[in-house]
């Protein structure tokens, strides 16, 4: 069975290797061809790949975060488990798995159990539509950008439920803050994202990447793209509740915010969701503004462009995502936390007006063809 399916998969991979199709399309094709096993193999591989991505990127990101945090603060960070503490996260994960899963006595148990899964679901669902490379994407839906914005609502619900069901004042306050913060900053993130949608003329993420063939939107959009890039990075940093916008879990005032009462596996779900969220928003930033898996090209300089094409698209995607992740971590270990009123001030009085003006300017640029590059209309 295993050998057969592996063979099937190898053949299919060889056939479809250089075609611009997603895993879901291949599954549908296999299904239409009547090869059930191949379709099932595709599904299993996709799900397994997602699970592996979640686990691996979680482990790696947590380690990197701790190391970077340490070095930003003149420390060394984990050094004991393995070479330079490289297995520290694994050890922590094992510890969390073995810990007792405590549920407070007065908690609303069903909701308390459900909340981390909602949080996790919101994150993993976005991973399914990110284009990692032309041939590596779980599914490309028509409304990709809308989908990404929509499913973040489940994350808000997860946090709100987690805070409420713990029956703890700190959790509750943290959850309310998180809810207010996320739905506020979602507006700015959407405004920034609409600029890219305007330029590329499509909601599908794969097509947005394709439209950056001639140059990335961050600079090809005549400054509008750069402004919306900055707004987007700020807004998504707030949306994933990271410092300097981490008032929902402000340690100094709220114990740990909405996940104060969580322990063991469920806490690790919240924790993992936070880091995968960082990967997701960085991947989205890379896809929308930095060209996704598109290699870096300079005009018609064929030699340079050819050299850049040698690097596989997955590496381009990973590299760009890593740069944004580094940026977000750099923010975290540099800036102090904002107060609640400053947070709201920043969103409603600074980012929102700038976002609206920027969107209007982008509309003008697109409408009157004010930019020198041609855009690809699918």
């Amino acid at each position: 069975m295993t050998a057969t399916s592996l063979t099937y998969f190898a053949i299919a991979a060889a056939q479809g290797a250089f075609k611009n199709v997603t895993v879901s399309e291949r599954t549908a094709q296999a299904f239409a061809d009547g090869s059930w096993i191949l379709a099932i193999v595709y599904i299993v591989v996709a799900l397994g790949g997602l699970a592996a991505l979640v686990t691996l990127s979680g482990l790696v990101l947590i380690y990197v975060e701790r190391k970077l945090a340490a070095h930003f603060q003149c420390r060394l960070g984990p050094m004991r488990v393995g070479w330079h503490g490289i297995f520290q996260t694994v050890a922590d994960a094992v510890k969390l798995l073995l810990k007792e899963d405590v549920i407070p006595e007065k908690a609303d148990k069903a909701m308390h159990l459900l909340a981390p899964f909602l949080s996790m679901m919101a994150t993993v669902m976005v991973l399914g539509v990110l284009p990692y490379s032309p041939i590596l994407q779980i599914t490309d839906i028509n409304i990709g950008v809308l989908f990404v914005t929509a499913v973040s609502g489940f994350g808000v619900m997860g946090i709100l439920l987690g805070g409420w069901s713990s029956n703890n004042k700190w959790s509750m306050v943290g959850a309310m803050r998180a809810g207010a913060q996320i739905i506020s900053y979602e507006i700015s993130a959407t405004l920034a994202l609409l600029v890219v949608v305007l330029f590329s003329g499509s909601l599908s993420l794969a097509e947005i990447v394709q439209s950056q063939d001639a140059g990335w939107w961050i600079w090809r959009a005549n400054g509008v793209g750069f402004v919306s890039f900055i707004i987007f990075v700020i807004a998504v940093t707030a949306e994933i509740n990271r410092t300097p916008f981490d008032i929902p879990e402000g340690e100094s005032e709220l114990a740990a915010g909405f996940h104060t009462e969580y322990s063991g596996l469920r806490f690790s779900f919240f924790f993992l969701a936070e880091f995968i969220n960082m990967f997701v928003v960085s991947g989205m930033t890379a896809t929308l503004f930095l060209g996704g898996w598109m290699p870096f090209h300079i005009g018609a300089w064929a030699g340079f462009n050819g050299f850049m094409d040698l690097i596989p698209p997955v590496l381009w995607f990973t590299g760009k995502t890593s740069v944004v992740i580094f940026l977000i971590m750099w923010f975290r270990w540099t800036f102090p936390r904002l107060r609640v009123d400053q947070l709201m001030y920043l969103e409603w009085k600074v980012l929102l007006p700038i976002g609206f003006v920027n969107l209007f300017a982008a509309a003008v640029v697109v409408l009157y063809n004010l930019y020198p590059f041609p855009i690809l209309v699918p």
């Binding site: 340490a70 070095h71 603060q73 003149c74 420390r75 750099w330 540099t334 800036f335």
Partner: protein
Amino acid sequence: MGRVDFNDVKHETRTFAGVTVPVSVVPRFKRQAYPTRFLFSLKSLVDGMRLTFGYLVRPSTVVTRQYPENRATLKFPERYRASLKFKFDENGYQSCNGCGSCERACPNGSIILETRKGATGKNEIERYIWRMDSCVLCNACVEACSFGSLEMSHDFENAVYDRRLLVYTLNRYAGPTANVLLKEENLEAREAMMTKIDAYGGQVPMNGYALPTVAALGTPREKAATDGKGEAS
């Protein structure tokens, strides 16, 4: 961001209700225009990021010390306080005369003095008990001591498995009391009795507990202690 320029602060005298007092007149805080403030905030953000990036790329700034490996080369700040210690001169004598200032100065009763009447009729210290388990290392005893007999040392490796072991005798055994000494005719033997016994100091089990991990108060500690105590009481 507006800032107060301290060069603009004027120092003058003013009369309030017939009393003339010197005052400092600080100019009113002025908010700068929005674009200036905006740019200033951006600049401050960039400054902060540059600073932390500098820490990231220069490994020499790392201050972490990896303790068990660098035990031999550990360096402590001058005023680091890890445990209380008696000061002994080169002959092994301490200057403590059992006045009890430290005992009174201790905020939580971590110091217990047992004194006895010495050979010259003055009080002298018999046992200086320091309970590390309740000590907060506040340094009040060291400051209270008029004779400079105490100091805070850098010995920080004091971990034990039993809390009752965190009780120390700080002084050394200074020989039996005078009446015991005088009964001894042999001068050499008298000298020997007056030898400072180092082993007298160190951990003492609390409330007379017999703990397996602590060496019994045997020779010479056991003998010395019983000798001294039996006569003094």
